[in-house]
Amino acid sequence: MNFSEPDPMVPQPYKVRQIWQETHDTFSLDLEPKGPSLHSEFAPGQFNMLYAFGVGEVPISISACSKNGDGWIHTIRDVGTVTHALHQLREGDTIGLRGPFGSAWPIDESKGSDVVIMAGGIGLAPLRPALYALMESRKNFGDIALLYGARKPEDLLYTDEFESWRGKYGVQVRVTVDNADRTWSGNVGVVTTMIPRVNFDPLQTVAMICGPEIMMRYAVLELRQNGVSEENIYVTMERNMKCAVGFCGHCQFGPAFICKDGPVFRYDRVKPLFSLREV
């Protein structure tokens, strides 16, 4: 046993460096390690288990590194007991954190290819670090497209970053909402309708998709119709999890454990399980 590594089952104390509202129901937490600085390395797509003391623990993806490199940012939608408790935190408060855990988006494997990123709702949070990684070594990739859908314009995340993604890094950013009033001058329609509107070579494209399962299913269908092969499509699977390290079986998804084998999976490997009603 390596005594220098923290026990993956024991939450480490982290301080809330900053908390801010992203949308009406979604906020971001910037967390810094308390005490000796732990490593902040992670692979885009990985998640942490955030523990609100006395309330419970939830898996939350890392949505960025903290600006000074010491800690992580998480973007969280307030949907229930634990996420609501996390929403109540204030700067200086302490929470428990275990991680990072799980598999990653295929950044290295995408070198030399075009990349299509499709996100729905809060699904942009785990994809943002992937986008950052692609932009960081922009010249290693061909066309990059981000297709992002949300319910309404006010639900869109990270809108203040879109211009730099477009202008500085030449990412084709296409945003769409399910419905809007006339003040919205962007696209209205489901995110899959954006696929024909961006440039990519389907035979040399890696697609990364994160969003509601039903959206991902349609996205895969549409990408397949456009000629992207199943081996080049990556999706995330969400199942409730407890231990996050493959012990407890709570997040078992067929033969795989979401926590340690996922949450990012190559589509052809989870295809038989992907559309099952209950797994």
Binding site: G120, G123, D178, V188, P212, T236, M237
Partner: protein, 157 residues
Amino acid sequence: MKSLQSIIETHPFFKGLDEPYLELVTGCASNVRFNAGEFIYRQDEEADTFYIIRQGKVSLEICQPGHEPMVLQTVSEGEILGWAWIVPPYHWKFDAQAVELTRTIAFDGKCLRNKCQEDHGLGYELLSRLLPVVGKTMDASRLQLMNVYGIKSSEGV
């Protein structure tokens, strides 16, 4: 200057259409542009035109008395606008408004219908291009109805 026919044949909707059919549809076509904010057609009006969009963006809106108009879909470059011109009783179900400067090719709906009636081969070509668009729009509407991003849905990560 590009001829009307060459513009039509490069639009994705008409891609691959045989020359004689292209000539037939071009006979019903004209170049039309709309400024931002301009209505292209209004709900319940007679649907007498079919548009292919060359540039710009159009919103399809539904208006209920006492409510703000709601945008249900936008269509843009490379897409088509409206199929009510081919489905009786030929009335628009929504308002269509240009969101930005929009360049289209507009086809006289009656002219197209007559030509389809006279030449079923052309009718088949047009319908087999229209139906996938209608099908995709139906799929999209169902997804929108499901409110997949809502709190109680089975949200992905």
